[in-house]
Symmetry: C2
């Protein structure tokens, strides 16, 4: 069996590794932290950074095919390795477009797809002329609401983010949707059901993911089609998370794309015929894509570290939650909890969505990641 390399050893790499090991692949993880979440379940781990060209060379040479659990990697080194004939998916050239929000949005706009109006934040850019309310975003390195600043009016200018940025029109938001899309080595495209995402007010991190989204059939088709066309425009091989805004008028806009398994696709492990992780592994290994069909309605809840708790994680309220039928717990094996750190997630499946949501809210109320 082939050896798959995973650049980045976080929870996404961990669940990718679990899917790859299930299918019999050997897995090597590259991560700077000893005993990383993915390293714990892989055959071996190379200690090193995803921005260090030597480490990247090491993993790429040790594996038949490499992929990532994060987009913030040194793509210039990977493009060189790819040019030497090493198989890396998604193509690092695609990654370098996606990891730069400005380039990503330009690609989406050029394909004629709906995304909020934006401009590059040049030195002489005029915020007022672009118009408030707006969102300032750093071009690279942001995640989970980091590197994003909402500016309602000129008074917010004092908080302006440093570095290379872009400005985006603020959408009059009704709701946020997500769709996972997989693209196979032969260009085959498979998309998953539309998910409804709610966010944690305090941390801006995904809180609940409700699947299928409680939206009209029209809106569902619109969102799924937009997501598919976005991935067709970006290209590459693997699974992608497409986050979208819906405004008060029911228009759908691409917010941003992640070139990897995504938090809004965790639910697929329990609820779908093929999980986003297995789908990704199938894609990068050049195997046929699996069925994305959803077997049961479900709600995913992100288990964030309780603010005020730092240190070895302890789960409070676990017994109560595991007594509820359909509750599936995922912990990422992180040695230390911190406020709002993603420590795990829970997926609740049920025969009907209302019941799944009800149960997820009980879990949310009772299950806490604290420290000893």
């Amino acid at each position: 069996m082939k050896t798959i390399g995973i650049i980045g050893g976080g929870q996404l790499g961990r669940m990718m590794t679990q899917a790859a090991k299930k299918m019999g692949f050997h897995v090597i993880v590259l991560d700077p932290g000893e005993n990383s979440p993915a390293g714990q379940v892989a055959d071996s781990q190379i200690l090193g950074s995803w921005n260090d060209s030597e480490s990247l060379k090491k993993i790429v040479e040790a594996c038949d095919v490499c992929t990532y659990d994060l987009e913030h990697v040194d793509t210039s080194a990977l493009i060189e390795l790819s040019d030497q004939g090493h198989e890396i998916h998604p193509d690092p050239r695609v990654l370098s477009v996606i990891q730069d929000k400005l380039l990503q949005k330009q690609c989406i706009e050029e394909a004629g797809l709906s995304t909020p109006a934006f401009i590059e934040l040049t030195e002489d850019a005029d915020f007022a002329k672009f118009g408030f309310p707006l969102v300032q975003k750093t071009r690279k390195g942001g995640y989970d609401g980091k590197g994003v600043l909402v500016m309602k009016d000129e008074s917010a200018l004092v908080e302006k983010l440093p570095g290379e940025c872009m400005l985006e029109k603020m959408v009059d938001l009704e709701m946020e949707l997500g769709v996972m899309v997989a693209r196979g080595i032969d260009g085959e495209l498979v998309s998953y059901p539309v998910t409804e995402m709610t966010f944690d007010d305090r941390s801006n991190i995904l809180d609940l993911c409700i699947v299928p989204a409680r939206i009209s059939a029209d809106l569902e088709v619109k969102a799924r089609t937009l997501a598919e066309k976005t991935i067709e425009a970006l290209g590459g091989v693997g699974i992608y998370g497409v986050e979208m805004f819906v405004d008060k008028q029911g228009e759908v806009f691409v917010n941003e794309v992640a070139p990897r398994p995504h938090n809004s696709g965790h639910y697929t492990i329990e609820a779908c015929v093929t999980s986003q992780y297995e789908q990704h592994i199938r894609a990068v290994a050049g195997l046929p894509l699996g069925s994305p069909e959803q077997m049961r309605p479900c709600v995913m809840y992100n288990l964030l570290g309780e603010p005020g708790h730092t240190g070895e994680p302890v789960l409070d309220g676990l017994e109560v939650c595991l007594h509820i039928p359909g509750v599936s717990l995922h912990m990422y094996g992180k040695a230390e909890t911190r406020g709002f750190r993603k420590m795990g997630h829970v997926t609740v499946t049920s025969e009907n969505l209302d019941e799944a949501l009800e149960k997820a809210l009980i879990v949310k109320k009772n299950l806490k990641v604290i420290s000893e």
Copy 2:
């Protein structure tokens, strides 16, 4: 989080480990072979035998709770460790009953439960008086049809098995059924749907597992109740596989019990709300048991090494099979294939059982584990 020790690093230990890691436990595996199937996905592996008291002491002392992936372990050493206060599930005392087929059957008979008539094979036992056709079984160490000899008449006496044995009446067999039963730390009992098992003629190893079994509602209740009562009689904590015979008159008999996840329960990973592996981990970790509900009909097919092939395994026909929606491949990461060695399995889920069976038969026809 707790550390769970798994004694034995085969495929059952591997899938147990995957379930335990999913839930955030640390996992240490004890196995004599380097890079064992379970060791590959665990935090660490202790190299040593399950019959070596020093190795058993090492793993028990390193973990909060220990369990097994096989029943042929040195229970006297484990009973001593259990008496010293180490948590080991199922209780090694229960294991020493189950690992001896004669003691196991005596326990089942004493509870008034249906099992084929049997006697201990003493030196002066009279085969003819017990009556042909009969089955001679070694009391300990048998698995997958090994240590079992069917004797149709006196002419078979020349092939008599050596060692401590028992004789069992041959059932006029209509079909074989299986039920997984879990017992929690508080004595809570949960049973899974009844599975229909067919066996490979050449190797006597489980071939297909069809779930739900195509039987009457009456027979289903009878089999499930018998399985539950059998585990109530045997006691202990964890998951158990109960294999049963159905004769031509529709009577159900316990064939034998495995004190661990079982081949006939692999299907639960894809088809049930809680897999047999997570259920076992929940039980031994003292957590509430999960729902055994089946979400979709399914058929499991055992991937055995093709006879005539020895060496590094290669999957022939994989592309064809993965094109079929609902096909889920599990490979065990074994470095070497041999004729009839269990190398992996495939579970096919579908909205209806006939379709699942049809697809499983395509997989069976096309997918082969060969060597390079």
